[in-house]
Structure formats: C-alpha cells, structure tokens
C-alpha cells in the first residue's frame, strides 16, 4: 500500500471528522449547558443541505448559501428556543426528546412536500472544482481541502472564544455547574437563546458545506444525528475539545473501516463506542454528565 493512499484516507478522515465536529459541537453545547437532547439536530443539518440545493438552483451561487445558512440557522434556533424549548424548562428532559422527535417528523415531511423524494446532487463550486496532485497517481479534490480549512478555522475560533472571552467563560461555567453559574449572575435566558441559535446555525452550516460532497436526500440527517451523538459520548458530554477528538476518532474509524472492512464499517463505529464506554463510562474526556 502506498503512503499516498494512506495519506488520502487520512485526509478523508479529517475532513469527515471536521464536518461531524461542526454538527456535534452545537449538540454538545445544547446538552451540556441546557440539558437539552436535541434529536432534531440532524434534521437541521438536512435543512442546510437542501438550502444549498435551492440556492444553487435559483440564485446560481453556492457561496451565497454560506451566509444565508448562518442567518437561517440563527433564526430557526432562536424560534425553537423562544417558542418551544423555553416552555419546557423545568420539565422532564424526556419531554424535550419527545418535542424534538416531533420536530424531526415535521421537518422531514416539510422537506418532502417542498423538494420531493428524489436525491439531488450539487456541483462543487467552480472556483474549487479541481484536484491538487499529491503524486503521479494520487490527487485530492480542492473542495475537500476547503472543507478541512473551514473545519480547522471553526475549531480554532471556538477554542479561542471558549478559552479567552467572557462569553466562553460563562459557557464553561454553565456546562460545569448550571445552578452555580446562574447564582453568579449568568443570564440564563439570554445564554439559552444564544446557545440554541448558534448550535442550530452550526448544524445548518455543516449541511451546506457537506452538500457538494454527499448527495442531498430525504432523511440524510438521521445518520449524522446518530454519529454526532456517538461523537459527544466519546468525547464526554459538554466538552468541546472532547467533541473534536471524538469526531476525528470517528472519522478515522469510518474512513479506514470502509477501506479494510467494507461490510462492517457501521458495525465498527458502534462497537468502538461500546468499547470506549465500557472502559470509561463517562467518555474519553471528563464530561459534565447530565
């Protein structure tokens, strides 16, 4: 096996892992800070992918979809928190599970009403529609490298915000001990609104970015949702560095699993998670638990 083959798989793993991280970071914040298990997170990812499809079709520009995705995600997240989640504060966590399950059905069916059942493909944007040669036989598509770059930039920005800013400090405090953070003057209402809006925006954005790589099809959020949960459980609930590590690990298992055991890649992902949880019932990194 050539080292370039190995390198290409490694790049695939990193790129896939970074997309998962984009989705899982919102999910883990919602869970760590608000105690909300948002099953509809994958559905918002799908919303992003379909938005990219619609924007490319009608406005003929992929790049426009990126800022629009962030705006749409922020708006959807704010509406979700303001009109649904805030009503369930203090209720059993399971009622949020139920609520988000209902949202999945509504979003999935809404997608079928608007776009129908056919899968769609999206062209890679013209500017990045070329490959970078690695050797005489191996080349790597530029768009995938662009995805890696966005993912890395996102990870750096997030970790700087978390480590250096006041907001990051408040978020870390809330993930560590919700009641204590509130007692120390963290405005829970505003924080919840911000976290939900930002978390959903990440999911929608991830959907847009992934659209040219994966095809756009009904129910595409299901798989991503489950894998994102695997990611945050591997990394420890509420921990963003943990989510990054978990996402990259999952990217590796998936990418190399598909090459070496094509029939058992899905099997391996779940087996890996069970193995980690048997050895470390609270995830690889110290989580806050819920």
């Amino acid at each position: 096996m050539s080292p370039f083959f190995f390198f290409v798989q490694l790049l695939n793993a990193v790129q896939y892992g970074l997309i998962l991280y984009l989705v899982a970071s919102g999910l883990t914040l919602l869970l760590g800070i608000m105690g909300v298990i948002n099953l509809a997170h994958g559905a918002f990812y799908m919303v992003g992918a379909y938005m990219a499809f619609a924007v490319v079709q009608h406005l003929a520009s992929f790049w426009l979809a990126l800022p629009l995705a962030i705006l749409l995600g922020l708006a959807l997240g704010a509406l979700l928190e303001r009109f649904l989640l805030s009503r369930l504060e203090g209720a059993d966590h399971l009622s949020q599970v139920l609520l988000s399950f209902g949202l999945i059905l509504i979003i999935n069916e809404g997608q079928r009403i608007i776009f129908g059942n056919d899968p769609h493909g999206i062209e890679v944007p013209q500017a990045l529609n070329f490959s970078i040669p690695l050797s005489e036989t191996f080349a790597y598509p530029a768009y995938r490298l662009f995805v890696c770059a966005i993912g890395i930039a996102f990870a750096i920005v997030v970790s700087l915000v978390m480590a250096k800013t006041r907001i990051g400090m408040m978020l870390r405090a809330s993930a560590e001990n919700r009641a204590m953070a509130r007692a120390l003057g963290v405005n829970a209402k505003r924080m919840y609104l911000g976290v939900t809006a930002a978390g959903i925006a990440c999911a929608v954005l991830a959907g847009v970015i992934a659209a040219p790589i994966a095809s756009v099809y009904p129910g595409m959020g299901d798989q991503v949702l489950i894998l994102s949960f695997v990611v945050i459980v591997l990394g420890g609930i509420g921990s963003l560095p943990g989510a990054l590590a978990g996402a990259l690990l999952l990217g590796l298992v998936d990418s190399f699993g598909k090459q070496f055991f094509p029939n058992f890649a899905a099997f391996l992902v779940y087996a890996a998670m069970i193995a980690v949880l048997i050895v470390r019932p609270q995830g690889l990194f110290r989580g806050t638990g819920t």
């Binding site: 009622s95 599970v97 509504i106 489950i226 949960f229 609930i237 779940y270």
Partner: protein
C-alpha cells in the same frame, strides 16, 4: 381522583375494548387491531423500564426484532410451528440478549445509557443487515402461522379473528404482569433506586441488580411482542431492530405517560390510530403526527394519562 385508580380504570376499559373488537370488527379492521394491540404491548414493556426503573432504552427494538428472527429461524418450513416451543426460544433469546446489554449498559447513566442501548440495538440491526445471517437486507419468511397445542386439541391461528384473540390474551398477560410488578415491592424498590440511589443502597438493595432484573423482564416482554409480529406478518426484516423503531415506541410511552401502566398502551393506540386516519387523508401524514407529538409535549409534558388524572383531581377539588 388518584392516578393509580384512573390507571386501573383505564386498563379495565382497554381490556373490555380488546375483548369486544372481534364482535364489532372483521377483515382489515381486525388486522389493524392486531397490529395496534401488539405495539401497545411493546410500549407497555418499554414503559416498565422507562417509568419505574428510569432506564431510557433506545434499544428495545433489538429484543423485539431478535425474537422475531429467532422464530423465523426455528419455525419448520413445511408445517405450522408449535406456539409453546417456539415462543419459549424467542422469549428466552430476547431475555438473554437483554441480560447482556443490560449488564454492560446499566453501569452508565443518563445519556450514556441511552446511547449504549442505541449502539447495541444498531449492532443487532447491522448483524442481520450485513452478515447474511437471516437473509440480509431482504429479511426472512415464516411460511405458516404457528398452532396452539393444548391438551387434546390443536387450535389453528390462521383465521384473523382467532389470531387476534391469541394476541390479545398474550398482550393482556404482559399488561397485567407490568401492572402487578409496578405495584409490587419490587416496583417500589425500582422507584426508590430511581429517585434516591444512595438511600436505596443503604437499605441493602443493589440498584444495579434490580435494574438489571427489570431490564431483562422488559426485554423478554418485548421479545414476546416480536414473536407475535413475526407470526402475524409471516415475515421479518432487519428494520424491526433499527433505532427508529425503538424511538417510535419510546414516543408512544412518553405521549401516554411513562409513570402509569395504561399510559404507554394509550400512547400506542392514539399514535397508531392517528397515523391510520391521517394516512387516509393525506400523503404527508407524518407532518400531522409530528404536530400531534409537539402539541402533546407542550400541553401535557408528563403524558396524557397523568394529565387526565390531574384534570379530574382539580375538578374534584373545585367541587368540594
């Protein structure tokens, strides 16, 4: 009125309804009633661990589906199977798998437990989907409905009405067992362990062991329902084990109310009836189901049965 009495009252109403079905309905309706009754039994089985034990399993479809596959694999090809021998294998297999999954998963709490059960469920799904055992993605067929071998008489279940009666007897037994367990000392210890683990331990009980026992009982009951489904349709497929199936049953449990025995059954009946009615009205019926689920969560976050009990209680207080 007290929630326990409402619960018992609703169970009696449901049981009476189940007995009346074959007198009122036939043909398609009785097949629908059979499906709903089995799903109600599955929801009651899951409700028993979600409610008193506080174990939110998203892997119960695996026990349900495994039992169905065990039946499909052990049923003879050219003659009807004997209910008693095949059902025992199916239930025992589901219980054994539940014991294994529970033994490993119950050490984890909260979301970690949820995802542990989900992962085991998906392992089960991929086992039947990817390995070629049990016909891969195509599933497997059961050629004959099983027969009931009673002393001196063999009862065929080929007829839709007789199969429905058989199903309702099994499901009523599951519901009765769940109701009795919830009210027994065992049920009280489960609730105690859910609400305060430290104190329960101080009383000398092991929360781990009693939760595991509850999980195995629930898994066995789910297995019985899987057996019934395989016998009803004569067909099993990997989708029976998939997490979407587990999640749907969990939704039934939560809509009806996990802290009662009748709640999960009522959740299953309402959800499946709503599906049936909406399906006739529109192709996009799922959006209707989604709206119903969201409305129930906002209006009755603890479920329909506790909501009813609460409404009746406050009316009584006003009258007094």
């Amino acid at each position: 009125m007290n929630q326990d009495r409402i619960d018992a009252g609703l169970l009696l109403v449901l049981a009476a309804g189940a007995v009346l079905v074959p007198f009122v309905w036939s043909g398609y309706e009785i097949k629908l009633a059979t499906t709903i009754t089995i799903q109600a039994g599955l929801a009651v089985a899951l409700g028993f661990v979600v409610g008193p034990a506080g174990l939110i399993s998203v892997g119960h479809a695996a026990f349900y589906g495994l039992a169905a596959y065990l039946f499909a694999m052990t049923a003879p090809e050219s003659e009807p199977a004997n209910v008693f021998s095949t059902v025992l294998i199916a239930i025992f297999g589901a219980a054994a798998f539940a014991a294994f999954v529970g033994a490993v998963s119950i050490r984890s709490r909260g979301l970690y437990f949820i995802l542990m059960t989900l992962a085991f469920g998906q392992l089960g799904y991929h086992f039947f989907h990817d390995t070629g055992i049990g016909g891969s993605a195509d599933g497997a067929y059961v050629n004959f409905r099983p027969e009931l071998h009673l002393p001196g008489i063999v009862i065929s279940l080929d007829n839709a009405a007789s199969f429905y009666q058989f199903v309702s007897v099994v499901v009523l037994a599951v519901v009765a067992l769940s109701w009795w367990l919830r009210r027994s000392a065992f049920g009280s210890i489960l609730v105690a362990a859910r609400d305060n683990e430290t104190r329960t331990r101080a009383f000398g009980y092991s929360p781990y062991v009693i939760r595991l026992v509850a999980f195995v009982i629930s898994g066995a009951m789910a297995g019985a329902m899987g057996y019934l489904t395989a016998a009803q349709h004569g067909f099993v497929a990997p989708q029976m084990l998939a997490w979407q199936n587990s999640a749907t049953v969990l939704v039934m449990v939560l809509i009806g109310g996990k802290d009662t025995t009748s709640g999960p059954a009522i959740g299953a009946i309402l959800l499946l009836l709503a599906e049936e009615i909406l399906q006739r009205a529109t192709e996009h019926w799922l959006i209707g189901v989604g709206l119903i689920v969201v409305a129930v969560v906002i209006l009755a976050p603890n479920g329909i049965v506790p909501y009813l009990a609460h409404a009746l209680r406050s009316r009584r207080v006003q009258h007094a």
